[in-house]
């Protein structure tokens, strides 16, 4: 099965998260590396999706979907860093 990468998670996960998950960074519990989810490797099949660390191949997350719900597991990630949109301050000219 030819894998793709975490960019492909943008659409499926936009159904459940209000932020773009592909630019969120996660720490792999396998090797400790921290990377944007877009840099992970993604293996898809009829059964579901497996997301693996781009550095050590550890399973970071699994996604299984049915018609009316989804099961999203983050078994291999110890933290996810999500950037808030910065507050743009009005400054006098």
């Amino acid at each position: 099965m030819e894998h793709v990468d975490g960019n492909a998670l943008a659409g499926p996960l936009a159904e459940f998260f209000t932020f773009d998950v592909t630019t969120a960074t996660g720490r792999c519990v396998g090797c400790g590396s921290i990377a944007e989810l877009a840099r992970a490797m993604v293996y898809r099949s009829g059964a579901g999706t497996v997301v693996r660390c781009g550095t050590c191949d550890n399973v970071l997350a699994t996604i299984v979907e049915s018609d009316d719900r989804a099961w999203i597991g983050f078994r291999g990630m110890s933290a996810i860093e999500v950037r808030r949109a910065p507050v743009v301050e009005e400054r006098p000219a």
């Binding site: 030819e2 894998h3 793709v4 990468d5 975490g6 960019n7 492909a8 943008a10 659409g11 936009a14 773009d20 592909t22 630019t23 944007e36 877009a38 840099r39 949109a85 910065p86 743009v88 301050e89 009005e90 400054r91 006098p92 000219a93």
Partner: protein, 264 residues
């Protein structure tokens, strides 16, 4: 505060708007155009489309009469605030979605699209990001689509950032956006175009057709010493080969952004 800071604040505001919220939309096919013998360019009118950044993608969902659904991701060749969205789709021999989009879709047909998607594989002008490092784009086959969007946005913004596009393609007939790329290379925004032909080179070419080599890559990309931002898009095999070579040539892995579309 100086005018410069005010301009910076304004630029930051527009950068935030550059990646709008995604959603499902109904797209009407406005025009189709044979891009290459194996690919079609689709111009879609998408009511409610919030605009998109250069390099983003969308998902197309087709529903069969029996309710069976198939969803596939396609890079967007256009960018900006327009609700006219341009795709260029390559036909995969055993595909469920691409043969329909390439051979059967006609103007007036409707599609379900979800997007814009992804904020990782995107480029925005230096006026918005403040990042003035040179940009190296590397495309394998139909992987050129999001990179063409970046080069087009670069020219449209008359952005001074040095751009270079290395495009690996089977034959001269398989080049996407052939006329447009030629015109972009002549525009005032700096773009250098390098083509590598893997199956058949044009007549009079000095380099015979063949797979790209590490040496050819090194000769045709901005050197690591110039700290370029690099965007690589193509088949999984192409992207991983090129990304490994880039790191071996001294490029910072954090400055190399990749997008893999899978097999072939």
């Amino acid at each position: 505060m100086s005018d410069g800071s005010a301009a910076q604040v304004t630029a930051l505001g527009s950068a935030l708007q550059a990646v709008p919220r995604s959603g499902w939309h109904v797209a009407t096919v406005a025009a189709t155009h044979r891009e290459t013998p194996n690919a079609t360019r689709l111009e879609l009118d998408v009511v409610g489309w919030p605009g998109n950044a250069a390099g983003q993608h969308l998902d197309v969902r087709l529903t069969a009469p029996d309710g069976y659904q198939a969803t596939r991701s396609y890079s967007i060749a256009s960018s900006g605030s327009s609700t006219r969205v341009v795709l260029a789709v390559d036909k995969l021999p055993d595909g469920e979605v691409s043969p329909y989009l390439v051979d059967d879709v006609r103007a007036g047909d409707m599609l379900e699209v979800h997007g814009p998607l992804g904020a990782f594989f995107v480029w925005a002008p230096v006026a918005e990001t403040g990042d003035d490092r040179p940009v190296q784009l590397i495309a394998g086959g139909s992987g050129v689509v999001p990179l063409y969007a970046m080069a087009h946005a670069h020219a449209g913004a008359d952005d001074p950032t040095p751009f270079r596009l290395l495009y690996s393609v089977r034959t001269p007939d398989d080049v996407y956006f052939s006329d447009e790329l030629g015109a972009l290379a002549e525009a005032s925004a700096p773009l250098r175009l390098d083509l590598v032909y893997t199956r058949r080179a044009p007549e009079g070419a000095t380099t015979p057709a063949g797979r790209i080599t590490r040496e050819a890559l090194e000769a045709a990309v901005i050197p690591a010493a110039d700290r370029p931002r690099v965007y690589v898009c193509g088949s999984t095999g192409f992207v991983e080969l090129v990304a490994d070579w880039l790191v071996g040539l001294g490029h910072d892995p954090r400055s190399v952004r990749t997008e893999r579309y899978g097999g072939t």
